[in-house]
Amino acid sequence: MVELIQRRFGLTVHPRSIERALSRASVRGHESAESGSVAAFATTNDREIGLLYEALRSQVIGSGEPDAKLNGRGLFLRQGMSAWMLAMADGASTLAEALDPTGFETPTGFETTVQSSVALALPLPWSRLADEAELAVMLTNMAFAGRPSQTGKSV
């Protein structure tokens, strides 16, 4: 699994960190076993999902006409926020397939959008824990996981 994460995200993760994360996910999944979707979602970083929602929301409000290929907007419109969260949690490649079978188009100016979205998200609790630059890198890595990270950041 360490190798998979290294290949996909370009991140170096200690095996013990993965064990602890899986352990926490197992406990949370058990606590919310009433709903299968919630149990599945419990394995994700909710703060990152919240920031991605802020990015999507700001784009919708700012641009007006939705673009179905951008950040899962089409999935959001078709199936709602829960399904969108699950797709985001499942990984960018799955999300890309859900959005557009012909391929996931990289939006131009995405990093700028993320930066502005982080600024918009500042009053929200999910943005209290990290600085904007770190979040921008994290979101970029999460949204376009097929690209190797340029930071070499260890987690």
């Binding site: 909710d46 907007r73 829960s82």
Partner: protein
């Protein structure tokens, strides 16, 4: 704008336990603006936007009234989010009865050993 199939989205929301049973009570301008992104049937999104509105300065009483949700629902959602858990946005199912003692047959068997 992507073509929408209302029944498909309703089914998806119901599948995810996120279907707002009273979308008509959501009167916030975001959800009545006609923007398909803001859907009052999506309970998770309604809660998310409710929290945003309160953090923007609106009172809890006024915001919950506008969003058609109760104050306890708001506080539960906000507490869940502050813990970093969106899972608190999903409505929980009916509480299951948890037996606090052994069933009559088992207790009878244990009290009358053969």
């Amino acid at each position: 704008m992507a073509s929408l199939a209302p029944d498909e989205k309703r089914a998806a929301l119901a599948r995810d336990h996120a279907l707002n049973p009273h979308p008509e009570t959501v009167q916030d301008s975001l959800f009545t603006s006609g923007n398909a992104f803001f859907d009052a049937r999506d309970l998770v999104q309604v809660k998310c936007e409710l929290i945003r509105r309160v953090q923007a300065g609106q009172s809890v009483v006024a915001a919950t009234r506008t969003f058609g949700l109760s104050r306890p629902t708001f506080y539960q959602a906000r507490a869940a989010l502050e813990k970093g858990a969106f899972s608190g946005f999903w409505p929980s199912g009916p509480a299951r009865a948890v037996p606090t003692s052994s069933p009559p047959s088992a207790s009878a068997a244990s009290s009358n050993p053969i």
